[in-house]
């Protein structure tokens, strides 16, 4: 194997390994990543139940809650990560290491995806057990395709954010916070995005997770296409485009931000 490729593959594995093994050394993740997220989602289930006992709304919330795990991961473990690394003094080491910075980002994405998936599965399974959420899959292959395309595009977006956040000062934390509830609102995590109206839903669809979630609801809920914003086929096509665009944008943005950071001497600037 090409030695350069081998080194980069090792870098990807190494960065992912730290996340998976590091977290497993702290048993508190079992509570914080599995049980507690379900509780936050449960509150929305009970609001719907107080208004209407139709189990459709329970399933809708559970699916949105499960997918919110990925968005949280993108914000706090991808977008913020290079900023954190800079603040901790690790970014300098990444910069002088003989590897592509994209390998570090891919490793972070792989490790983060692993944990976000655990969280999503916990919400999904506990949602079915505790709240009798009902899912009827109409097309398994379309569901898998939609999910993985959403993830490619979403983690591509996370890598793009990571390179941008790298040069942020203390505002990085606040910016991430700003992308939490407002994105839950725009992305239709707890109601069909269609409810927002065509213009706002289209704006929300700039986020891959909005389209992924909308399509997954159409493929797994008894309401089928009636609550959908766009057809599943259209969403798949848009997600393919988004995956390519975000990954390329992340690559070039990383090069640009690295150059800018070196020029302005911000790559090792901490606590500003």
């Amino acid at each position: 194997m090409n030695p350069e490729l081998k080194t980069n593959l090792k870098a990807i594995w190494g960065r992912a390994y730290v996340r998976v093994v590091g977290a497993n050394r702290e048993p508190s993740w079992i509570v914080s990543e599995t049980v507690l997220p379900v509780l936050a989602v449960a509150a929305y289930v009970y609001v719907y139940r107080a208004l209407n006992p139709d189990p459709l709304f329970t399933s809708l919330v559970i699916l949105g809650g499960a997918m919110s795990a990925y968005w949280m991961n993108i914000l706090w473990s991808m977008a913020m990560q290079f900023y954190w690394e800079k603040e901790m003094g690790n970014l300098d080491l990444y910069m002088i290491a003989p590897i592509s910075r994209m390998s570090i980002l891919l490793g972070m994405a792989a490790g983060g995806f692993f944990f976000a998936t655990l969280r999503a599965i916990a919400i999904f399974v506990l949602g079915i057990i505790l709240f009798q959420a009902e899912f009827v899959v109409t097309s398994v292959w379309k569901l898998f395709l939609l999910f993985f395309l959403s993830m490619f595009a979403l983690y591509g977006m996370g890598m793009l954010f990571s390179s941008i956040f790298m040069l942020f000062g203390r505002g990085a934390w606040q910016t991430s916070t700003l992308f939490q509830e407002p994105i839950y609102l725009l992305g239709g995590f707890y109601y069909p995005v269609k409810t927002l109206g065509a213009a706002v839903a289209a704006l929300g669809s700039l986020l891959p997770i909005t389209l992924g979630l909308d399509g997954m609801r159409q493929l797994t809920l008894k309401s089928g296409k009636t609550l959908g914003f766009l057809s599943v086929e259209t969403e798949i096509l848009i997600l393919v485009g988004m995956s390519v665009v975000f990954l390329l944008a992340a690559y070039y943005s990383l090069l640009f931000m690295e150059r800018l950071g070196k020029k302005e001497g911000k790559l090792s600037l901490r606590w500003q």
Partner: protein, 284 residues
């Protein structure tokens, strides 16, 4: 008890000042004002849309005002709880100065509470804007001339003390957990959101969760706030209490929590010093 009685006002004041600077001086005040409104307005609009999406819903539904007021005041729980407990991770892992705060000749307990005061000020602004938005834009039926301001003011004060005590307990737990326990704080806030009946009557919860809700002080706090604002009763379970009884339950539980938080904090502080956790970095 001597420690508990001896309030460290200087540390409380310095913690508040530092908290305010950290929270706000990364940008100008206008941007900060917009930023501090984005999250509460978004979470409020999520609830509005939930009411609109359900066929039996609509904003005239009697439950809407109940949900709206509960959600508005619950912001204090999330922000103050988070504001206090996150200090441990922020100071330990980000600014890496928790060890210096530890060895300073002041009480850490009041430093933490002081950091919560800054969040309190910011959250008050968000709550007021949310209430104004509800009353003037969404036309929720709250008559400001009919509000029982005595019950509202005293209830709010006690509730905030109660939240601060819970925040210190969570901060104590954060001392022995890794950075990823950011999710722990989010999750605990989610648990409180679930059992406090902030956005629905606790009657819709299953029996065991209702029992848990009735043992939780903030359930009474949110109900007291709603009563003081003349929001129509929705919970059969809590309707048996007058506002004075709700106040009494809140008073007793707050006192118990304040004392408990002091001792719980000291226990976890000792554990973190013993096992060398005060300056560890777990930010992977």
């Amino acid at each position: 008890m001597k420690d508990l009685a001896g309030l460290d006002y200087i540390n409380l004041r310095m913690g508040s000042w530092l908290g305010w600077q950290i929270e706000t001086n990364w940008t100008n005040l206008w941007v900060y004002g917009l930023y501090s409104l984005a999250r509460p307005i978004a979470s409020t609009l999520i609830l509005v849309l939930i009411f609109l999406v359900v066929p039996q819903g609509k904003l005239e539904h009697p439950l809407f005002v109940y949900t709206y007021i509960g959600n508005a005041f619950f912001m204090y729980v999330y922000m103050v709880l988070f504001g206090i407990s996150w200090v441990i991770h922020e100071d330990r892992e980000h600014y890496q100065m928790l060890k210096y705060v530890f060895i300073a000749p002041r009480k850490m307990y009041y430093y933490l509470a002081g950091r919560g005061v800054a969040k309190l000020a910011i959250t008050t602004f968000s709550v007021l804007v949310t209430l104004a938005f509800g009353i003037w834009v969404l036309k929720i039926p709250v008559d400001l001339t009919e509000v029982n301001y005595l019950a509202l003011g005293s209830g709010l004060f006690l509730g905030l003390l109660c939240i601060a005590a819970l925040g210190v307990i969570l901060a104590a737990l954060s001392m022995v957990t890794a950075h990823h326990s950011f999710y722990l704080t989010e999750g605990i806030a989610g648990l409180f959101y679930l059992i406090s009946g902030a956005i629905y009557p606790i009657d819709v919860l299953p029996g065991w969760l209702q029992t848990l809700a009735q043992a939780f002080p903030l359930t009474y706090w949110i109900e007291l706030i709603r009563r003081s604002m003349n929001v129509p009763l929705q919970s059969q379970v809590l309707s048996v209490y007058s506002w004075q009884e709700l106040f009494l339950v809140l008073l007793i539980s707050t006192l118990v929590l304040l004392i408990a938080s002091h001792y719980i904090y000291r226990i976890f502080e000792r554990i973190s010093v013993k096992y060398g956790l005060v300056d560890r970095l777990t930010n992977y």
